[in-house]
Amino acid sequence: MNTSEKSLTQRNEKIQKNWTQKGLELISSSYLVKLSIACLVLVALLSFASPYFFTLTNFKDILLGTAVIGIISFGMTMVLISDGIDLSVGSVVAYSSVILCVSLNAGLGLPVALFLTVAGAITVGLFNGFFVSVLNINPFIITLGSMSLVRGIAYIIIGGQPKPFDSDIIRFIGSGSLLGIPIPIYALLLVLVVLSYVMKYTQFGRNVYAIGNNQETARLSGINVVKTRILVYCIMGLLAGIAGILLAAQTYAGIPAAGMGYELDALTAVILGGTCLKGGQGRLAGTLLGTLIVALVLNGQNMLGVPYFYQLVSKGIIIIFAMTVAMKRN
């Protein structure tokens, strides 16, 4: 074969590939596109169904109400990408609110109280990370165990009852606004931006994806799998702690029974957002959409005053429907 012919073949192939490529790109991004469309359709339907839905305040309220679970969901996205899972998040939320409350009530001062809270939350992450990563034990079981353990500790610390506390700054964090936007929304967006950046632009973030793709291969590629996975659970702990602080800031109380079922709520948002339970794949933008869809559904139901039983039914149908239209993630 002579050169000119060869280059012809290549050119032909190139043209073909360009087409294929564009198709592929569209498909790979299409899930998020479809999800956005599902989101918009939902907004349109709800705006149509309720005159009070499509207002700035309502959207602000939706975001505000999403802050706690959203932050957890972002962290959970990272954990799932690393091929892990963390069921203890709800308990850590409660436990953090309790630590904050008890420290403040003990007169420790805000900086110390915040430090203790964050340290306590990270400790749980470290604990999970140690068992999952160093001892290589199933994360489902370990975090199920710590879910129970940490909840118990929260109850024991505060003595079973939710308790109020006082702190102007915390109160401002929970209910204050800056430029008309509530502080928790800033927290939510900050976490989203920072975590997206970390996942995309740092070696750590790429290592998390790599580990989720194939842990063994990651190890053989010289990635410090143990350290990275510990870090993943620590960050998850930290984020759950922040969520706990926000919860306390919004309720002015340490609530040991708070956050029950948050693990499932977060998983719903994350998986609806296209992150895979098998690890290695997932995007925070998807999680944001997933969180919004769930929040929209709830808000819409509240607006329309759908009775509880029918809320359950419609929630189920909407989840299945949204997933089916956005579908084909396998």
């Binding site: 074969m1 592929l24 740092t202 291969t217 010289g222």
Partner: protein
């Protein structure tokens, strides 16, 4: 310069009590390409894994640049300038090509990953191998062949002092192999040591300076390539005299059956994806070879016949009856079998036993609630283990614990066991050693003799010529030429595969 780059001595490694390496001693010098040769299950891959620190050896020593390394880990191996290509592909399927190439150390600007630089760097590297792969697409979208090429680029990108390559050419085509060889020579001229594992002796004889032969986890011999003949290699790696492999060297050997005139399977004006107007007939007792470059569409045709494609036009007849094949279930019910190209992707059930792997397709003929006949299955799988010389301690062993070549044999066994009328085989002998290749090909020949038909494709023209009764060459989705056995000529086939066909009788003119 005969300085040792890497030396191992007395390496012992056992799995569950069985010694895979029984005190192996090897030395790889700088500026040399060493061919590591041995039959399936000899311990080649295990050895590389030990050197990389993926497996901890039971005992033995490892020296790099003459210095003893106490405990090697992948990280350490990397730091010491070793690079590796595993037999089982080790890419991250959901990450892009560029990310895979730089997985452990991505280009950064102020600590932040510099995607632009990563892409240009990746592109540069891909260009070295003359590859036209978009470095932004996810690896899962690549063909087996492209994945292999990316692995090569990835290993090469480190500019390693020692490059360990476990069957890098199994999934490659001729042109790519040549480019790989250029690359190996570049490394060699830079003073690196390159370890090359391949079951294609021709390649070993062509590129290597030295040859090390191992058998059953122990050393057999080692020396300059010039001291070796193919016969000697085969003899030493298998422990059997070379006369048994005679026909392996003789392309025009005509021990093959004369196919009957009765048509078993025929396709007319078949079109799928990029393929159009595909027409051919497979006769009873015939082994029909398909040749084509990457992307020519051969695989599309095979997949269409097996019901794996959604948009297929044209007629397919089996035993003269029109059939519609929409799924593998249909295909199997019409008596087809399918050895897929990508064993790791869709060929095997890693966590199941050799026996289950062999017997599952046949089991589908029974009802879901029917009880598995364990005696029968044990007997059948034992038979195949013997016939194909599958190296395993028992048929109950999980298939993932077999060596690569032996896994491939088990996969062939499952389709032989199904006793299909027609078997579609994509690269069936990938990674299978010389002796076993002959066994496999004899078996294929034997089932053809029983009046069945085989559609066979291989990127290795010599093998195709050896095995098949006729060869159909596909170029850019069209059948460009059909060679009968009498017309076989390596060069002509190669040219046809590249779209060059001077002879009259071409099916379609361009």
């Amino acid at each position: 310069m005969n300085q040792s780059a890497l030396r191992i001595s007395n390496i012992v490694k056992s799995f569950n009590g069985i010694k895979a390496l029984k005190g192996l001693t090897l030395n790889f010098n700088k500026g040399e390409i060493i061919g590591l040769v041995g039959s399936n299950g000899a311990g080649k891959s295990t050895l590389l894994n030990v050197i990389w620190g993926a497996y901890a050896p039971d005992s033995g020593e490892l020296y790099i640049d003459g210095e003893r390394i106490e405990k090697i880990t992948p990280t350490k191996a990397q730091e010491l300038g070793i690079s590796i290509i595993f037999q089982h592909r080790r890419l991250m399927p959901y990450m892009t090509v560029a990310e895979n190439i730089f997985i452990d150390n991505m280009p950064k600007k102020k600590g932040v990953i510099d995607y632009k630089k990563m892409r240009t760097d990746a592109k540069e590297l891909l260009d070295v191998l003359n590859l036209d792969i978009d470095c932004n697409i996810k690896v899962e979208r690549l063909s087996a062949e492209e994945k292999q090429l990316v692995e090569i680029v990835k290993a090469y990108s480190k500019q390693p002092k020692v490059l360990l390559m476990d069957e890098p050419t199994t999934a490659l085509r001729q042109g790519d192999v040549e480019r790989l060889f250029e690359l190996m020579n570049t490394l060699k001229s830079q003073g690196s040591s390159v370890v090359f594992i391949s079951h294609r002796l021709k390649e070993v004889m062509e590129i290597c300076d030295r040859i090390s032969i191992i058998r059953d986890g122990g050393n057999v011999s080692e020396g300059e390539k010039l001291d070796y003949s193919p016969d000697r290699i085969v003899e030493e790696m298998s422990g059997i005299t070379a006369t048994d492999f005679e026909h392996q060297r003789d392309v025009t050997d005509s021990s093959f059956s004369k196919a009957s005139q009765e048509v078993l399977l025929s396709a007319s004006s078949l079109s799928v994806d990029n393929c159009q107007d595909i027409e051919f007939a497979l006769h009873k007792g015939e082994i029909l070879g398909f040749a084509g470059l990457g992307g020519s569409g051969v695989e599309n045709i095979f997949e269409a016949l097996y019901g794996l494609k959604t948009h297929v036009d044209g007629d397919i007849k089996i035993d003269g009856v029109d059939v519609e094949i929409h799924s593998p279930i249909d295909a199997i019910s019409y008596g087809l079998g399918f050895v897929s190209e990508d064993r790791q992707l869709n060929g095997e059930f890693l966590e199941l036993s050799v026996k289950d792997n062999i017997c599952i397709p046949k089991g589908q003929k029974k009802r879901l609630y029917s009880v598995i006949n364990r005696k029968e299955e044990t007997l059948a799988s034992k038979g195949f283990i013997e016939k194909l010389n599958i190296k395993t301690d028992s048929e109950e062993q999980l298939i993932k614990n077999l060596s690569g070549g032996n896994q491939q044999k088990a996969i062939i066994a499952k389709w032989l066991h199904l006793q299909s009328k027609v078997i579609l085989m994509c690269e069936p002998t990938a990674g299978i050693d010389v002796a076993a290749k002959s066994d496999v090909n004899k078996l294929i020949q034997q089932i053809a003799l029983e009046g069945k038909g085989i559609l066979y494709t291989s990127s290795y023209i010599t093998e195709l010529m050896h095995v098949s009764d006729r060869i159909i060459v596909v170029y850019q989705g069209r059948i460009i030429k059909v060679f009968s056995r009498a017309e076989y000529d390596h060069n002509k086939i190669y040219l046809a595969m590249n779209g060059i066909n001077e002879q009259i009788g071409a099916k379609h003119e361009h």
